[in-house]
Amino acid sequence: MEENNTIRLTLSRFDPEKDQAPRRETHLIPFQKGMTILDTLFYVYENIDRSLSFSYGCRYSRCGLCAVNVNGKPTLICQTLAQKEMVIEPLPNYPVVRDLVIERADWGKRTSDYQPFLQRAAGEQERLQAQIQSEVLRPKSFEIFKQATRCVDCYSCNAICPTISEDKEATRGPNLMMQMAPYFFDPRDRMDRTGLMQELAAKCLLCGTCAENCPKDLAIDEIIADARAKVVEKKGLPWAKKRFLQALLWSRSLLSFLLKGSSLFRGLLFQKVPQESGLHLRFPLGKLDVRRILPDLAKDFFLDKFPGEALAPQESDRVAFFVGCSMNYLYPPIGEAAIRILNRYGVSVLIPDGQKCCGLPAYGAGDLARAKKLALANIEVFEKTNASRVVVACGSCGAHLMKHYPKLFQDEDPALKERIECFSESIIDLTAYLAERIGEFTPPALIGGQGQALRVTYHDSCHLKRKLGVREEPRTLLQAAGMELAEMAEPDRCCGMGGSFGLENYELSAKILDHKMEDIEKTGAEIVATGCMGCLMQLKQGIHNHSLKIRAKHIIEVLDEVMVNGLGKQAQGRGSAGND
């Protein structure tokens, strides 16, 4: 067999009755153009080893039985083309029957507790029975229902969900959510499912890994967000959360005043983490764990410090800048670094006053009303800048602005919808913007100073990669800046922060984080860079938890250090980004 016409196929073999642990077996099999992955299993079964245990069924990608992990990714192998190198394992997070076959919850176990059936209003069945016509059901009210009923229950989402992977008891996962969604979102249903749905949706990071891997391209994470919104619609918000979200709508000056004024109060609750520049609670309070390290509030908030515009000497372009809460209150130096870089390359930056929180905390909590208010406030402020692009340096904010704003207003009048869409289309992540201009950055210009190759690894924030599609650009920039890029085994595996999830579920969040930190450590990198401030917070927690000699930095800080200060062994410790 020529090299070109061979597939190197590695299979996981495991008989729980005989083997201590799964073992791997590699086979070289003939490749034919057009072969599916299932074909390769057929080949092994028919020609090499008839004892192989594997499962398949319809071959239409609709029974879910052929789902296995191929090179780490859950895949329906009946309609996926074979690759030249494949490692095939059973779907993770489920008991293995033998080899590639998992135990799929049998009828009774899966269904008895959750009531996945339609419960109509009292008397409606009788009324319908008496009529000969069909019900009047408007398709528009069944949109989420229709999406959810496309699910083929293959378990791919549960297999890859970072929460399920850690704590299989904690939540029944995205798969069960999809099985229940047709009933929760069926306008005819009268059962009170809010308790169950709230519980199912609770331990979700909204990381989007499920949606990214769904063989049917279902927006599972969006349906989970929709479920939260529906729960809030029925039950309202918990008191503390409601107050917090209300405050997001207050004016910048009021918030600044209150936050600054709270320093004494904060001192009573929090204390500094020794040798670090973060705080932790003195005692457990609500869901916040004492082990959670929070960055201290900045001395001067970004929006208080900066004027409305930072003009570049020789202006070649002009952008607006969306700051976001993390940058504003916790990491202003990152914002300063962003302005510096942009100005240096001839880009004037408009920083409109009056911009508010993007609204992701409200959206994530299911408070769509406040999410919409915040959206409208922001859009108005940015429309006034007349900038054709709005640059964001936080993946979570960017994803929300670009993807969720249109979703929030999809039922509004066309004129408003157009304004929203116009705004969302103008959003661009800062690294993507810079990468567009990479041709302008000739190596000497970018490195500027004693650039010395430093080993850096890049963590893909869930929102930045999955929603904004930004993956190559940060890497291009780091390499252009003279860094040695060392990739993690799973650079896009969720870090476990997930916004308020990390604050309310420290234990689970830390377990998810452990994988990431192990992965980072293996790269031997000195710096882990990321494009989201939530991830940044979490990575710093991880460095603390694992006592690693690594620094976590926002990618903009890294680029800034290279361009402005030069980066090398001498430059370590110096630099404009404060919190290390």
């Binding site: 034919q32 057929f42 008839r50 245990s53 039985l65 083309l81 049998d106």
Partner: protein
Amino acid sequence: MQFLETDVLVIGGGGAGAMATLHAHNQGAKAMMVIKGKFGRTGGTTCAMGAATAVGPWHEPEDSQQVHFEDTIKGGSYLNDQNLVRILVEESPQRVLELERLGAFWERTEEGDRYLLRIDGGHTYPRSVYLEDRPGREMLRAMGAEIIRRKIPVVEDTMILRLLMDDGQVAGAVGTNLFNTEMIGFRAKSIVLATGGAGNIYPFTTNPADVTGDGYVLALQAGAELVDMEFVQFYPLGLIFPESLKGMLAGTFYYSKLLNAKGERLMKYYDPRLEMSTRDIIARAIYSEIQKGNGTPRGGVLCDMTYNPPGFMKKQLPALYDFYLKIGIEVEKQMVEVAPTCHFFMGGIRVNEEWRSTLDTLFAGGEAAGGVQGANRLSQNSLADIMVSGARAGDAAGQEAPKRSSFRKINEEVTAEERKKLEALFLRKKGDNLGPRKIKNRLNKLMWDAVGLIRNEEGLKGALAEFRRMEEEELPNITLATPSRRYNREFFETMELANLLKVAKAVATSALNRTESRGAHFREDYPKWDNRNWLKHLQINQRDGNLQIREGPVNLSEMKPPEE
């Protein structure tokens, strides 16, 4: 052996099985469903992509149940049992509404008050309800939800090996769990067989892997009768490559030219209408070309969509276009190799208007039952059939329960025999070490060549002799590559192969005896339709392990075929 007890045991978990389960329960009987696979995932219903005929109050202005009836009889070449078809057209709309009440959602207009209706070959008007490309799954979702709500037990992963009879009536059944080979028994007062067709006797089939005619075999063994087994429908265009997708629906004939390996437009030799001919003619044309040696090396012909303007195929058939792209084929630039694919069994267990078999306590519904669709089924009539027949079978089976206060006696010799057969497979050390799949592949090839779209006496006789040999010599020599009891693929493929062989025999035997051509059954030695001699059913019984054929009348209560 553990024995589970119920009044009505439904074997099979597709649309007919689910409907039968609910309707038996409606009658106040205890119901239980046992499935070889997993509910909602396995079997044919979940793959169904079309629509379900139902002429209800929402019908097109000119349409009526009478027109539906007539279309169906004409489509079936007058071999349908008209009393059953009358029930089909009348009760389908009721079942559609029933499912809607359980929560099924059928596509409708924006205002929500009228169903959107689909049409396909043979129907005079659009008359079928659907949901996107998954009407079958939607039916199962709604019925499955109701089964859960009523807490009706469903036993999954269990293949029934034999029905247990007591003096011509059912006493129960015995099966094996495919995940651990444990045997399990059932006591029941009546049984509904809803096990689908048997497409896997052919090399190309639209059926999923587990559809292997189990119900036909169970019925024969129990002493019930099969009817119309020679009528097997082939859809003309099925993929032949890759292996895993063999038999999948490959496309439509509009927008396509069919070319043989020489590059000729093959239809010109068969029908001046070319690709606009009827499905059975196209299917036989393609088959002919292949068997004559004008096919591609892989054994197909070429479906050419490349002559269409760029962007056309993507616009007209987006789902098909995307499917092809997923498997690496750009239909605008490449031709696709196709061959006819086995899609549906018109024949099956012979039933009356209650979908009761020739045995009082044994019922059948869906594709497992025969006589409704005649010599050829119209598209979209199957989803209607499973709902109607399942309901009828379930109602009648449920009414049996109160007639007896106790279960009939379980034949322990039979259960012991089944256990012995199963264990023998695991104990066998010496054999030909080939595994069931190689034998199945040869069975498939033989069925294709001799019992395929074009049949003749010599071929059929030869095939029957070979089936006998395979059953007597090869099947008992299969050895398993592993003694593991955990999801042992060779184990259940062997069990299924035994059934496939029996079904193959039934199809070939019927085909041999019908010396005319009608609908899906074509004899090149008797190529004409013969209403004078052949407006009748061929019925099969099993006596002492041998198949016996007898003839039976067709119910022609309403429509008489045109004078020849």
